[in-house]
Symmetry: C2
Subunit: 386 residues, 2 copies
């Protein structure tokens, strides 16, 4: 038996940082996925739980007895009731992870492995299986890789439970029903909490439901794009300290409260203008091109305001300059200070230009991904040949 789930990554189209100060932000799913495959039974006499993180070449294996022993206080799994990992359980799980001796260079992944153990044992209990995870998403670059990991995992685990309805006869990828998505999203959020402490819930929500989300002051509104949208996502590979960047903006806001308050209000307007453009229908190529030009202008404006907040970086500027040569508009996405940059790829842009831009960006040492924006959320495939 094999169950495979895939969950998309996300980008922030507008409003990062300003959202912390009350502005509207818009996030969207991208068609770059994390895949989680659960297979069982595994080899005879092998009563263990195995996790393979293919992209980072890590393999873990725990005897089921050892997991039971460590998490004896958990009781029977209750897949229909998402529960937070208690401090006590976090400690027990950490011990299980520590035993696996993750190499120092990959130690940042330990919290993800903890989230896996929590979701697995809480939803499926103490059963043996092999879980294989692969991803199109670069890790820790602001594209929601950890959320898509939690969502894909929760989806595959819940598909094996009685708590959600899946059509085992359906060939290929299929979507979940609305109540199932809510359950799944809540479980994924519990995983995100183990990885991030206090996640906003935006990443797992976008990964679960797909399409786009407008959010402001903790309120999420799902919106459905009326236009196809393609972005070049350039990963500068420059690591950044999100907390320090967020704190830097707050400090600047304390020093210049009036100016920064106007800046956040400007971002709020831009997010709303952007959502309105995306939500309005575009009946033909001409109106799609017009809408794309408006989006490009809003991206340029948002990028200027992010620079005003002090969260840009030399690597981001290099991407901006390079894409500007081809008259393409770009903005950083996420925390800034490195990370990823979005470049709108207009519908009528020739493939030759795209190839040239990518070649030039890659020659700077950046990683380029092309992503369609606002597609489906998490999907499941039973039988697992897709």
């Amino acid at each position: 038996m094999e169950v495979k789930a895939r969950a998309p990554g996300k980008i922030i189209l507008s409003g990062e940082h300003a959202v912390v100060h009350g502005s509207t932000a818009v996030a969207a799913s991208i068609d770059l996925y994390t895949y989680a495959t659960i297979s069982f039974p595994i080899a005879e006499n092998d009563d263990s739980l195995k996790l393979q993180l293919k992209d980072v070449a890590l393999e873990f294996s725990w005897p089921i007895g050892r997991i039971k022993e460590a998490l004896s206080n958990l009781g029977a799994p209750s897949s229909s009731t998402p529960t937070s990992c208690s401090i006590e359980s976090v400690k027990s799980i950490s011990a299980l992870v520590d035993e696996q001796n993750i190499p120092e260079a990959k130690i940042a992944l330990a919290s993800g492995v903890s989230a896996f153990l929590w979701l697995y044992t809480s939803i499926r209990g103490f059963k043996s299986a092999t879980v294989v995870v692969t991803s199109d998403l670069p890790l820790g670059s602001g594209l929601g890789s950890s959320a898509s990991f939690c969502v894909a995992l929760s989806a595959a685990l819940l598909a094996l439970s009685d708590s959600v309805n899946v059509d085992a006869q359906h060939q290929g990828w299929s979507m979940f029903g609305e109540p199932d998505l809510e359950l799944l999203n809540n479980w994924a959020f519990e995983g995100e909490k183990i990885i991030h402490g206090k996640p906003s819930g935006i990443d797992n929500t976008v990964s679960t439901y797909g399409n786009m989300i407008k959010f402001r002051s903790g309120n999420l509104t799902r919106i459905t794009s009326k236009m196809p949208l393609k972005m070049l996502v350039t990963n500068t590979k420059v690591g950044r300290n999100t907390k320090a960047l967020v704190a830097g903006v707050s400090e600047r806001t304390l020093r210049h409260p009036n100016a920064m308050s106007f800046v956040f209000n400007a971002v709020d307007s831009i997010s709303n203008d952007l959502a309105n453009i995306i939500l309005s229908p575009a009946p033909d190529d001409v109106s799609i091109t017009e809408k794309e030009e408006k989006l490009e202008e809003l991206m340029e404006m948002n990028q200027g305001l992010l620079q005003c907040m002090g969260v840009s970086h030399a690597s981001i500027e290099t991407v901006l300059r390079t894409t500007l040569k081809y008259k393409l508009a770009s903005k950083l996405t996420g925390a800034g200070g490195g990370g990823c940059v979005l470049t709108l790829l207009p519908t009528l842009l020739s493939g030759t230009v795209v190839d040239k831009v990518i070649a030039e960006l890659e020659s700077c040492g950046f990683q380029c991904l092309i992503a369609r924006i606002g597609g489906n959320g998490v999907e499941i495939c039973i039988g697992g040949s897709s």
Copy 2:
């Protein structure tokens, strides 16, 4: 007899473009000057008016009789009453300029020559002399070269009239008294009108009075800096179309009125914060460094907002990236789209670093000037050996 005047150029410290939409801007004089020297009598039997523009290698010579003939309607000069050049006089003066056959490549200077003829004949009448003009300022790059030309010229001409008081015994450069400055500024403004059509009056006012000026909605307030301030002025040498840039900002404002209104308000706050920092006393090195850091932050913020308005340029971004490598803050000054970029040079910055930055910028083909900010306005030197 020789009279020499020098008048400083200007930079906009904050608020360019936004000032058109009601925000406060701050401009300051720089210690880069245009010099105008009037010598007479010239050679015997040479009854002509000569103008030498040394930096652009242009020489003009008009027989006084020809000027009298062309401008017969002017009547006696009245140096104490600044008067606008009538449309009729503009035509007559243009004819005098045309006769001099300015090479096509330098035709943009024709309006400056017209302004010279208007100021000279209006203030000094139909008398022979040789006027030599030199300048530290690159032409047409937003550093107020035309205003400093008009101010220096008006100063030298007025010093020879009965309308201002100058101490002929004073050695070296000396300043004018307050009422004389007002007269001089008004004359210079008449010259600026011939060159620019509808000048704001900011450039000639800064060049006349020196120091700094805060302006908003047509109101100019002179302010006196309490701190020494040194800037690297990088001339990208990229020509720009100021009118098109101003129009571009207005069009963006029509498309996104809310967002842009917040952006202009943010700039207004930044200009006021900047003026307050400059106006507050700094008793020691520590507080000067603190103030410089605050100014750097405000420059970075203003630059981000200018990018948001869409008036940056690849050449400006190159300067920003280069100076950022040395942890120096920069912003465009003036219209943008090329032109000049300011980089604050902190008091405690080592000369070695300054040399390195300049070398790197010059290797990009840019011209670098170092300027002290907020010094004296127009000054005069009688006898002319300074």
